[in-house]
């Protein structure tokens, strides 16, 4: 079709009703002129008119054909159907509201969950050709190690060698594996604020193929001479938030630690780095590593391994080719380092080391790792809810279409094609579904925000860009259309397949027809009940699992502890500096002395804050190399602050100083497993690390009860506690056991900290209990949402039951009237109705139980302290379902029982 032709067609469309008027006018003129001519020829007025009309032809059909020439008739009939659909929706508002509400909830929930799946698992990184990007090693390992044979964390010199010598990547970039939160100052502002600073190699932006929207990105030249390039690139979001979208941002400066950095560029809005859900605020070249707090002086250290490496495959190079090239180089590079300590053990590690290349088109994400399973389960749940909603609507439409049987029969009798009517009924469902879909999208926006908050757990939102996009809209559209077809097609075909004479004779359908219609309705109800059972049992399982987790004995007392973070990096002293050690002790002492405070102590790890681990060598014991000890550097009052019971020996005191003999308190499990049996571990010695070097020797002075360290589900860990002066740690976290008001204590503690050092930034003030429960975020999200959806499912099923029963009772009014007239008691009539629904519910439950048991196996790994569906959960759900089903049927049953036989019999 030529563009000008389309334009003419379009223009005609906008002429609307004038088109018909003009056409009618010119056709009328034609006939009148003809009539006049015939009159002039001497015909009688009557015959002149008749002949003029005869010669002209059928005006109506000519008008229609003319209109059709423009090719818009499909549109017109669509509009007709839409209008009709909307009208019929408005005619039964109750049905429409219920249908729309269940659809909106169903579609909204699906869209919301899908938008998270999309963000976390489906979307590609917004960089150039993300499918060419490879991550060295396996996702999930971060931090710093000096281990030989590390295949995920690498040193900066290793990165440089790999970048130089490989033949398979067009470029390789290094990213520091930890995203540091640094308290920095924007020049011209007084207060420090937290900034998430990402250290990257100069090749980072070129490798990703990302350009700045303003200024420039970092380049290889910025990563040459240490300390020579105090520059950084800020994220778009941070520029908007912290600099208020200052157009002159490139003139601004930021002070981190003692160094002032120039802003040289702003990254594009969609770019969030390489890790989904971890958006850095700014990127600093690795050459500045020693100047960005905590100022690691490690750029030249061959075995300070803390970098993640990514590479962009050269065109035509396969993952296998790249892997083999990387592994050959890996061995060569490590062995070429002169300080590589290749004793027998390390050589063994190195020989077994194999670098895996992980495609990272979708970016890296610890969130994905944590939430992919819960999200899949929630997606399943919401799909079931939507199915139930569809069944419900199909049932309602079925009931209504039976009521419309007469109307449809009349239309078919008048010559309407069956397909035309089916099309119209489907259009009606589509109107319903699309309206529901629109409402659903609106709802999903709210749900997304809610979900993001739930996922984030604490007060800080996870920086995830969960927004409407094409993927999402396509998904919703697909779901909506599928829904419309699903709930519309069966009623549409059913209601057009009828014996016309029967339907025309009897507007309400004869009572014999009622039974022929219900099987489908009954099947729908049975499947709703079955699905509801699945969802209910699921919800109960998840809730019980959450309760079990919450009741886990942590080994410490979760209650009554305030926790906060300070950023001691801003002071600019090394942690082993005596002034730092003294400062921490002073804060501990002063806070402890506050009224209402019972104990206060710093710790390197309170709960689920990562770990520092090494192997150990216990005197007189042959331990496996793989045994790893988690070390926790703490203050003297740590055990009192956490209320971790001491089982034997003593805790730390003022006698344990930098120069005194090194001591440690060990965990119960460590004492039991790692020390020679029959020997009291107290007073026994061990070495941190594999080799018995004198400076790593420690003496056990106490045994503490086992505590949960990383998460609530772990088995007892090997933990030792070390006093801070003997292994100084640049602390961040303070735990304060207090009595009384949280807010007052919090204020007093913060004031005290600032009285020791006014510059210390304080953040994440909260309770230990919150910190513990924040590790249950995904279990909590799943439990709460599955409970919500379980209830929703049951509610929807109730509506379905109510609808079906009301309908059948209406149909059977006549029969019930006769029963009552010949002496049936009201109670027996009620039972007649209830019996049917009880039977349907029982069948639904019988169908649902095997599905439930199979389904609970799938979620088994997500449950804690449960092995899938058990008798208690099943029984609770069955009883609850029966109860609400009967309740839903009770109202129609009562109505049936109150039928007045005289009225009922006169009814037909």
């Amino acid at each position: 079709m030529f563009p000008s032709e389309s334009l003419r067609r379009l223009r005609m469309l906008f002429r609307g009703s004038r088109f018909q008027e003009e056409l009618n006018e010119e056709m009328r003129l034609h006939r009148e002129l003809r009539e006049q001519e015939l009159l002039d020829l001497g015909q009688s007025p009557e015959s002149a008119r008749r002949e003029a009309n005869l010669r002209f032809g059928n005006v109506t059909s000519l008008g229609e054909t003319s209109y059709q020439s423009w090719g818009w008739s499909w549109l017109e009939s669509l509009f007709q159907d839409l209008r009709y659909g909307t009208r019929s929706m408005l005619r039964s508002p109750a049905l429409t509201i219920v249908a729309l509400l269940s659809l909106a909830l169903g579609i909204g929930a699906n869209t919301a969950i899908f938008s998270f799946i999309d963000t976390l698992m489906l979307r590609s990184l917004p960089v150039k050709d993300p499918s060419q990007l490879m991550f060295f090693g396996k996702e999930g390992e971060a931090g710093v190690t000096d281990r030989i044979g590390s295949t995920t964390l690498y040193s900066y010199p290793f990165f440089r060698e790999m970048q130089k010598r490989n033949g398979v990547f067009s470029d390789v970039a290094a990213i520091f594996s930890e995203l540091n939160t640094v308290h920095g100052t924007i020049q011209g502002q007084d207060s420090m604020q937290p900034m998430r600073v990402q250290l990257v190699s100069g090749s980072y932006f070129p490798t990703l193929g990302v350009q700045a929207v303003q200024g420039r990105v970092l380049s290889e030249a910025d990563d040459t001479i240490e300390g020579a390039h105090p520059i950084l690139v800020v994220s778009y979001a941070w520029w908007k938030r912290a600099l208020a979208s200052d157009p002159a941002a490139l003139n601004r400066k930021i002070t981190l630690g003692k160094t002032t950095f120039d802003i040289v560029g702003i990254a594009p809005p969609e770019f969030f780095g390489t890790s989904v859900g971890e958006a850095p605020d700014m990127w600093v070249p690795m050459s500045e590593m020693g100047f960005v707090p905590p100022a690691y002086d490690a750029r030249k250290d061959n075995f300070w391994e803390g970098m993640h490496l990514i590479g962009r495959l050269k065109p035509g190079v396969s993952q296998e080719q790249a892997t083999s090239n990387v592994n050959v180089l890996y061995q060569q590079i490590i062995r070429s380092f002169p300080d590589a300590d290749l004793d027998a053990r390390n050589a063994g590690y190195l020989n077994h080391a194999h670098v895996i290349l992980t495609p990272m088109a979708k970016g890296l994400s610890s969130l994905r790792h944590r939430f992919s399973e819960p999200l899949k389960i929630l997606m399943g749940i919401t799909t079931l809810v939507l199915l139930i909603a569809c069944a419900n609507i199909a049932n309602l439409l079925l009931a209504r279409s039976t009521a419309r049987a007469r109307e449809l029969a009349v239309r078919q009798a008048l010559g309407a094609g069956r397909l035309r009517i089916v099309r119209q009924l489907l259009t009606e469902s589509l109107v319903l579904a699309l309206t529901g879909g629109l409402l659903g999208i609106g709802l999903s926006r709210i749900a997304d925000r809610l979900l993001l908050r739930m996922i984030s757990g604490g007060s800080d939102l996870v920086p995830l860009e969960v927004s409407i996009n094409t993927n999402l809209l396509l998904f919703t559209f697909a779901v909506t259309v599928a829904t419309a077809i699903l709930f519309g097609i069966i009623p549409a075909f059913r209601s057009t397949r009828l014996e016309l004479t029967d339907a025309l004779k009897d507007g309400r359908g004869s009572s014999s027809k009622a039974s022929s219609r219900s099987p489908l309705g009954k099947i729908l109800i049975v499947s709703q009940i079955a699905l509801s059972l699945v969802l209910m049992v699921g919800a109960i399982l998840f809730i019980r699992s959450l309760v079990n987790l919450n009741n886990v004995d942590t080994g410490f007392n979760r209650e009554g502890v305030l926790r906060l973070d300070i950023d001691s990096d801003v002071i600019g002293l090394k942690s082993e500096d005596p002034r730092m050690i003294a400062m921490f002790q002073e804060i501990e002492q002063r806070v402890s002395a506050l009224p209402g405070v019972k104990a206060a102590s710093f710790a390197s790890f309170l709960f689920s804050q990562g770990s520092w681990n090494t192997g150990i060598r216990v005197v007189g014991q042959n331990l496996d190399d793989r045994v790893n000890i988690k070390h926790n550097v703490v203050g003297n009052e740590y055990f009192a602050a956490m209320q971790i019971p001491l089982l034997a020996g003593r805790t730390f005191g003022p006698q344990d100083t930098t120069t005194s003999h090194k001591v440690a308190v060990i965990s119960e499990r460590m004492a039991k497993d790692l020390f020679p049996s029959g020997v009291n571990p107290i007073g026994h010695h061990y070495y941190a690390g594999f080799d018995p070097k004198p400076d790593t020797e420690v003496e056990v002075i106490g045994i503490a009860k086992d505590v949960k360290f990383g998460d609530l589900q772990e088995s007892p860990q090997y933990i030792d506690y070390i006093p801070n002066p003997q292994h100084p740690w640049g602390y961040g976290t303070l735990a304060v056991r207090y009595n009384g008001d949280f807010d007052a204590t919090s204020r007093a503690v913060q004031q005290t900290i600032h009285s020791v050092n006014p510059r210390l930034p304080i953040s994440h003030v909260g309770t230990l209990d919150e910190q513990v429960s924040s590790t249950l975020t995904n279990q909590r999200v799943v439990a709460q949402l599955s409970a919500f959806f379980g209830l929703l499912a049951v509610f929807l099923s109730c509506i379905g039951i109510y609808g079906l029963m009301s309908y059948t009772v209406g149909k059977r009014t006549n029969e019930i009237g006769i029963r009552i007239a010949i002496g049936a008691s009201r109670a027996s009539v009620r039972w007649l109705v209830l019996r049917e629904i009880a039977l349907l519910t029982a069948i639904g439950i019988a169908v649902g139980i095997p599905i439930t048991i199979a389904g609970s196996r799938i979620v088994g790994t997500m449950l804690f302290g449960l092995r899938g569906a058990d008798v208690v959960s099943l029984l609770t759900s069955v009883v609850a379902l029966l109860a609400v089903a009967l309740l839903a049927a009770y109202l129609p049953a009562r109505r049936a029982a109150s039928v007045d036989p005289v009225v009922a019999l006169r009814y037909e």
Binding site: S4, R8, E26, M27, L29, F56, L62, G63, G71
Partner: protein, 109 residues
């Protein structure tokens, strides 16, 4: 008087020819032109001119404009466009080809 139905597909040709001979016409004038010029042999169901004219409007062969008749009545006048003129040539040559062929066949006695 016996009248013959016009051969299918030639209505466009007749309308185009009428317009090219007489300039802007309204529907009634076209009907009369076709009848008179064909000595009343060709009969058009007069109303069928109008769907055909709409089709031609879509194709862009003609444009329509409201004007006033000699009898001072409002009428829609159709005018040939350059595209319409080209179409007329195309239809004419096709017509001649086809009818020439038929003619040659029917002449073989």
């Amino acid at each position: 008087m016996k009248r013959d139905e016009i051969p299918p597909g030639t209505l466009y040709l007749l309308i185009l020819k009428a317009l090219s001979l007489h300039g802007p016409l309204h529907g009634y004038e076209m009907a009369n032109f076709i009848q008179r010029t064909s000595d009343n042999v060709l009969q058009v169901e007069e109303g069928s001119l109008y769907p055909a004219l709409q089709r031609m409007l879509v194709k862009g062969w003609v444009t329509a404009e409201w004007g006033v008749t000699a009898g001072n009545r409002r009428a829609r006048y159709y005018r040939l466009t350059p595209a319409g003129r080209k179409q007329l040539d195309a239809e004419l040559s096709q017509f001649e080809r086809v009818f020439g062929a038929i003619h040659r066949i029917t002449q073989i006695a």
